[in-house]
Symmetry: C2
Subunit: 198 residues, 2 copies
């Protein structure tokens, strides 16, 4: 493992201990067993460190989700449901989630949402494409539909941006399920998994 | 007009002159004809000033769009198209737009997107409701559909967050048009205005 990853691991551990948000660069250096001077060779500020950790974590989520879906041997609708389950499992307990929702970290947060949308939309588009081939869906814009779906998950359902009640979240998912069933001309109740999981 | 609005007007004028982004609190005070000390009674920082200007501007956009739609005597689909046109006219040349897209203003930017989504979704939901009564649409979740539509406009199409080419933007609008036509079970080509305008 390289030094950069050591440092990010140290920050991650501090987050697990509940101290990541308030830890100074010196404290992170100490945890990583690196001299503070050496630290600045890799990261110039706490913000840069957090940015890199977020980037690394989401890169991991995206790679894992993508690989997971690629290896599934099943129809497009089941893949959709399993992708959502995997994504939620991987993102529900991200250690820096609370910190990312602080106003001072809005720029890093925004960048991470755009990254997830851009990357995962390729995975979702591939699933839609498969559904078209399986004659489950009809759709002329798989990638663009994927962007719209992911706007809902990354932006509209983001707990740091909106404060929906659980009831409102379920309604949102029911609406998305109805919109997708009709929009993709999919078999009735195909997208029931969207709100059965919530 | 109250003093607070005087100050915000001064900042707005500075933006029109291309100097809003870099203007200091002192310069804004000078422009407003207010002592710097008096200024701090209303706003403690440049950030607070920008936040208040953005809030005031978007409040104006939302109120105007809402009133405009309420006064229209036409069918739901035409209202949809006219609302979009009005919204674009009002937001295309907002003076602080570039400044809002700087990373350091990401928190204010995010807040403004959430405000627009929350407020305008009521206007859009009312139009969908009217369409249902006119038997143009079928939809069980007007408000939630409105949230999804506005996620596309506020987040996915935001020029500071994503960098779509014009061609990609048109594709995005064609996809949304197809999704809405099917999702609302609307007459064919009802939403053609989404991409004819782009």
């Amino acid at each position: 493992m390289n030094k950069r990853d050591y440092i990010l691991d140290a920050l991650e551990t501090l987050f697990e201990e509940g101290k990541g948000g308030t830890a100074s660069v010196s404290e992170i250096a100490k945890k990583a067993g690196i001299a503070k001077g050496g630290m600045y060779y890799y990261f110039r500020s706490k913000e840069e460190l957090l940015d890199a950790l977020v980037e690394r974590q989401y890169e991991h989520v995206i790679q894992s989700c993508s690989k997971y879906v690629d290896e599934l041997q099943t129809d497009a609708i089941t893949k959709f449901a399993l992708l959502l389950k995997k994504y939620r499992e991987m993102t529900d307990n991200i250690v820096f989630d609370e910190c990312l929702h602080l106003l001072e970290n809005a720029a890093i947060h925004q960048k991470s949402l755009a990254k997830i949308l851009n990357s995962l939309s390729n995975v979702v588009a591939k699933i839609i494409q498969q559904g078209i081939e399986e004659k489950l869906f009809k759709c002329s814009y798989p990638l663009q539909y994927a962007h719209i779906i992911l706007s809902v998950f990354t932006f509209l359902l983001d707990k740091g941006i909106f404060e929906w009640t659980l009831e409102e979240q379920v309604l949102e998912m029911k609406a998305l399920a109805s919109l997708l069933e009709r929009g993709l001309q999919a078999p009735e109740q195909s997208f029931i998994f969207l709100y059965k999981l919530t």
